[in-house]
Symmetry: C2
Subunit: 162 residues, 2 copies
């Protein structure tokens, strides 16, 4: 078992402006592998759903491409979808994010992968909301806990050498 | 020929905040007929494209439903799409709007139809952008001219008694 599974890297969550949330997290894997885990449907299905069954209905990783994931949780079925604004492997991904439960509330997510030069990678995400209320709603909905669970599942996937 | 086709009602365009555009336009038709023209695919195809061929690929007028139109202009093919956030016939429609040429740049459009009580209807739209730059880009791209053309085509459709 790798160290990362026992004591995960901390998740940093800040609010750089009144419509943004920024997160930072380090992973014990080279940038190319983290990029692959974020863009290959077979790999995404293994961590994004935090242990829940995840059906990848669409994942067209190119500018203008769409994505749609359906997560099967004990409490019900949750759909998520969006579209890619920018795809620059293995460094930067900009996409929209929308949950079926609040259709038409669209978040712009910018993800950058920084090569730390020692076999580790820092993932920085910035989420831009249309309003402060939407941002605060997302923060109070358990976004941070969900992200921590997803990232621990990603740690496990990366440690498995998949 | 109706008066509305000879001298159309003016289109009012204002910027109530640094991320919004608001428009106002009166139509010589009862609210229910304007609502129908905005939500029935057969009718939308007759005015939204301003005389260009418009293919309505999706128009699911319900909360969470998607829409996608493809306009065939002399200069090329342009896709537009979005999702319905709120559908309250015959008064209020909130949807997202995205042009294929700038994927992932999402505008929130709120449309309200006001019954003027004399057989006419006022359509008010508010477009909320993620940034001021996106709003100004839309304004300088000929949004106003395009909207005037669409609304004149809608005048003609409403006058035809369709």
């Amino acid at each position: 078992m790798s160290t990362s599974q026992v004591r995960p890297h901390p998740l940093s969550v800040t609010t750089p402006s009144d419509r943004e949330v920024r997160t930072e997290r380090v992973f014990n894997a080279p940038r190319e592998r983290v990029w692959q885990a974020m863009t290959d449907p077979k790999l995404v299905a293994q961590w994004w759903g935090r242990g829940n069954r995840l059906v990848i209905e669409r994942l067209e990783v190119e500018r203008g491409g769409h994505w749609r994931f359906v997560e099967h949780t004990p409490d019900g079925v949750h759909g998520f979808e969006g579209r890619f604004r920018e795809v620059s492997p293995p460094e930067r991904l900009v996409q929209t994010f929308e949950w079926d439960g609040m259709p038409g509330y669209v978040v712009i997510e910018t993800m950058t992968l920084e090569d730390l030069g020692d076999g580790r990678t820092r993932l920085v995400t910035t989420s831009l909301f249309h309003t402060t209320e939407e941002r605060d709603g997302m923060l109070s909905s358990g976004m941070t806990t969900g992200l921590e669970e997803s990232y621990r599942a990603l740690d496990a996937l990366l440690a498995s050498g998949a």
